[in-house]
Symmetry: D2
Subunit: 363 residues, 4 copies
């Protein structure tokens, strides 16, 4: 529903790129959870422009939590997270304001909002609104971690370069936590960054694929049919700007296998039922089976590029050529990773709260 994610745990997003602040309201958290502001800062840092490959707007992403916390712990009532905007540079946009940008929401938004939306810097559609999502997700992720649920995302592919696959879960996830450019194989990461730099040199951009794993979610969470874990996660993931595909476990490649190869055989291991492969990505019939939840997310290349593009002046209704200037990232896949982690953590807290009640964390 519009700008709100979740049922038992909800995140309501607000703000525009060039007004004084953006933010989100996070409701439904268990009371008594310690809120680690350092963890939030670290997550926001992972979302910020990074190194030579990012040429975009850089802001400190200071945040304030104006409600829902008392003496360092959640109260159980809504947290409002505010992040001030400090680097507005509206003049960049003025000269091209009637030209709808290919790959962006400008034209779709015009048809929906009839020209009343804030056009500066993408307005409400700005990628900047992922910052409060990341902040909220850091709180949710901290809750999960303290209950033994670990999650992490790597850049599985970028600009045609592949990272290695997950092979050793807890260690792989731990290693990713501190990486600004989150590949499992550092050499692959270097090659990806070179490819990004090459695209940037051409005034162009690249995309990529992120792969996420979540360990420790108990079996039996989720609902059949329209409340499937895949449904809940994909709905949240497709809300992230530039996401164009979501696949669980083997995903699209799974559809090329035969059933005998695709099915995950069961085995008893240390008194627990496990599967010996995980082509289904930890979910069967919409419900977790206790194996790692694994999914991939396709990120399209950043739509803001410096190459001239065919556009339309929507006031004069004439064809026009758009030449963007200003600050734009040649890739966002490495930054989107922080957003994927965040919405994943939020969805899981939502599912666990629905399943085990509003005291699930403390009980």
């Amino acid at each position: 529903m519009k700008n709100t994610l979740g049922n038992a745990v909800t995140l309501t997003l607000f703000g525009e790129s060039h007004k004084e602040a953006i933010g989100a309201v996070l409701d439904g958290l268990c009371p008594g959870v310690p809120v680690d502001e350092e963890r939030i800062r670290a997550a926001l840092e992972m979302r910020r422009p990074y190194g030579a490959i990012s040429t975009g707007r850089r802001e400190p992403d200071d945040f304030t939590i104006v409600s829902g916390i008392y003496e360092g712990r959640t109260t159980g009532t809504p947290l409002c997270i505010l992040i001030p905007n400090t680097q507005q540079n509206s003049s960049d946009y003025d000269k091209t304001k009637n030209l709808v940008r290919p790959g962006h929401a400008d034209y779709a938004a015009l048809c929906k909002y009839h020209g009343f939306s804030d056009p500066r810097g993408g307005g409400h559609f700005s990628g900047r609104l992922t910052a409060p999502i990341v902040a909220a997700g850091a709180i949710a992720g901290g809750m999960l971690e303290q209950k033994g649920i670990l999650l992490g995302t790597h850049i599985a592919r970028c600009a045609g370069v592949d990272d290695r696959a997950f092979s050793n879960y807890p260690a792989d996830l731990a290693a990713l936590q501190s990486k600004r450019f989150a590949t499992l194989d550092d050499a692959a990461g270097e090659r990806m960054q070179e490819a990004i730099a090459a695209a940037a040199k051409d005034g162009d951009s690249v995309g990529g694929v992120l792969e996420t794993a979540v360990l420790g979610v108990p079996a039996g969470v989720g609902e059949p049919w329209f409340g499937a874990v895949e449904s809940e996660l994909s709905a949240a993931l497709f809300a992230i700007p530039a996401v164009k595909g979501v696949a669980f476990g083997g995903g699209f490649a799974l559809s090329d296998l035969r059933g005998s190869a695709a099915n995950d055989p069961f085995r008893v291991e240390n008194g627990r039922v496990v599967t010996t492969t995980n082509h289904n990505g930890g979910v069967n019939g919409g419900i977790t089976n206790g194996m790692p939840i694994v999914f991939s997310v396709a990120i399209k290349p950043t739509p803001s590029i410096f190459v001239p593009q065919d556009s339309v002046d929507v006031v004069s209704m004439q064809n026009a050529t758009l030449q963007l200037s200003g600050r734009h990232d040649p890739a966002i896949v490495h930054r989107a990773r922080a957003v994927v982690d965040a919405v994943t953590a939020l969805v899981l807290c939502d599912l666990l709260t629905g399943r085990f009640g509003t005291d699930w964390w403390t009980a």
Copy 2:
């Protein structure tokens, strides 16, 4: 939420494979819509087992609509669609009832429902419950069609065989309507069916990829962020059994392009703004842009196979070998197509009702 899809137009699913009937309640339809029972029957026919490649249970799928219709038109109040179960054959399941089936929901459901779910024929998880979805979707699809919104799905890939791409929309969609095995290229369809038959001979199964196009949805429908059209559609699509991936427009392949190739340039055509390519699949920023909505759905191979599989007896907690018998489809991709069409139509009616109000159809 659980077994209910949608906000303004809702579908609530109920039933188990081996009880007397399954069904769904469809609420929120505009009043005064003629309900064409022939169209429902035709859609159900598309979902039924087909030809030599289907060895599964065959039932007439008679349906009754016990409410919400008066003198052949919707009243505006909920329709309850009932479909009786007639071919229950519970004895097939008895001998293996403690062995959880790989690729199925058995084990996940056990953890969720603590052994109380109806185990016969998959119970509530049975693919049979897609029949009322298809019936409801046929009503929604009829509403859309009368307003100039056409949709259709082809088997883009099955068992490694590719169909040709959509190339000529209205005609391609029209051609698909009457095909039981919905490929655009009949020769490709023949090869797919041969591959399915070959897998069946081996006691095995295959999967595939479906691609759907929707024409005529106006620009400006959908919401930013968590109410994205992709979010709504993917949530519904992942509720379909065996769906493991959903991608819009160029999808995962789009993430390999550069922005200059991936962005869809705008052009004025007959006084309307259009894009000259459609890599974004008709949605930007979560909102329709007036171009065809195009997406792909990955269907994993049918999990019920006749090859012996490693399993666990969840009562004795011992490893075991599962040998399925009975009636099972070596492929469901061609049948799943009817379900994809159905949920797509339902989601679009929901979005249009939210956008244009409860009289959108009659106004």
Copy 3:
């Protein structure tokens, strides 16, 4: 939302008075709950026309539960409850079908459904649709009772006659269970029935006030602000036909007291915090405080009367006099009691599931 009640436990209502069946889908129940069909029958019996004071349609109210139950227990998946219509007598309505009935939904429904709603016997607005609510509520009520949560409703006032107040909770509630005309004071009940009979003789009808008490709900259930227990209960209660007022604890009379008289003083009793009065009806700040939840519901006089009434022919748009014939109850307050009990039980199961998770009943 429309015809669906609840969040974690949902009831979706469907049907019209003169089609083949009415019913409801009840989703979100814990798995493993024994379903006592006798209890459902007993509750439906309480809703049926009773004795000389009821002249309305009498039907057996047979019900079938077509899903969600296996071996006598809930599976955790949706229950569809079907109740066939057997006593349709549509001819009664034909002659006056263009005259909107005062106090009924006819005119409001015409404006909403543009004349497409089923006009026979009130269609979807028929009080008959309370039967599936009562059936579902009986299941919910049984769940509560087995967890020590008791509820009951008496006719606090009818046709100007007052029943005595609750004075001895568990016993008072127990006594009400078996009464067809649910007063605590039998003599008051006799006088009420005489007053109903007198009104019936005049071709007229009467209303009344129901008072409900719920014992054993733990403190700490409900939400502040828009998720208040009063909000959830009142929303459900106002959905019952003829309900025009809902008040908690002292209700409207409380507004005449001073704070020193209205506040409920706290005391420690047997190591538990209790209040020595219960003017707040067991809810403070939207959240249960462990005291009995007590509320009153105002039922307007049955709108179907045999006295000539001013009406309008909505086809010719002329003033007209309406003379109803057929079968109509001179009072429904005693029957509405079963519906109030039912929605109360449903709302409480919903709140407890949200608070304690989907295994609250079995845990």
Copy 4:
């Protein structure tokens, strides 16, 4: 759901009395609506403590709208309204912090939040959180007014003194707009204020009944059964602190009439169908009938009083006597009126958006 009101138009509330700010996110407004900050200020003024009868905390209630507005008009994306807290005086509360206050949420909140909620000044339960509701409601009320939908609330009864009834709608509503103590009969208002002052002198408090009328809502809005207009309004009204009863039209008194007196006869007037009385308060079968929507709200006496009260020290679990000090209102009925107006306006915008779509205001 928790702190969120509405479906198509949603208000999400956050904040605690003694943190830096409180606020709300208002989503789902049509784009292009002029936002009149003066109107918001005027509404907030109506909610502020007034004259000799209010001894409570007085704050300027400055507000900032940090999102969702561009060039003075709504953008169609969420508005975040922030109101800083400036008069925190936490020391007042310290000495009695373990004593649960009768009539307040302290004990219920303790059971729900396990002691983690912010205890200062009522925390999230503070009446102060009605300020952002009033601000949001002023925007909604402005939208309605520009479409010819007028609403207003008078103090129908306070401390045993009755105001006169509504007798001349548009004029009565207009007269109320500018009154800080909103009675139709000024003399009655004087007597009420004298009674409040008398209670204050005794260290005590009084309650009252508010009556609201809404003119101009078209017939055919609302839903049958669980989406009844009464359900939606009552759920919102019971979320207001101190509300203990809600009744539509004749309300509880209606239950004493016979049907022949209670039914509202229809008549054609100027080509429109109207009723000659309005005992049903403008709603039949949950749907508006085009007549004024009229309802009453019972407000209990303010629970904060200076009379010693029996309480419990919840840390030592000992009985105790509570003597409140600090600033407390002897009545809030006149201030609650602004909150009732606000939630009424919000619910109506929600219903109209659901009924007529997201462009209802501009279309």
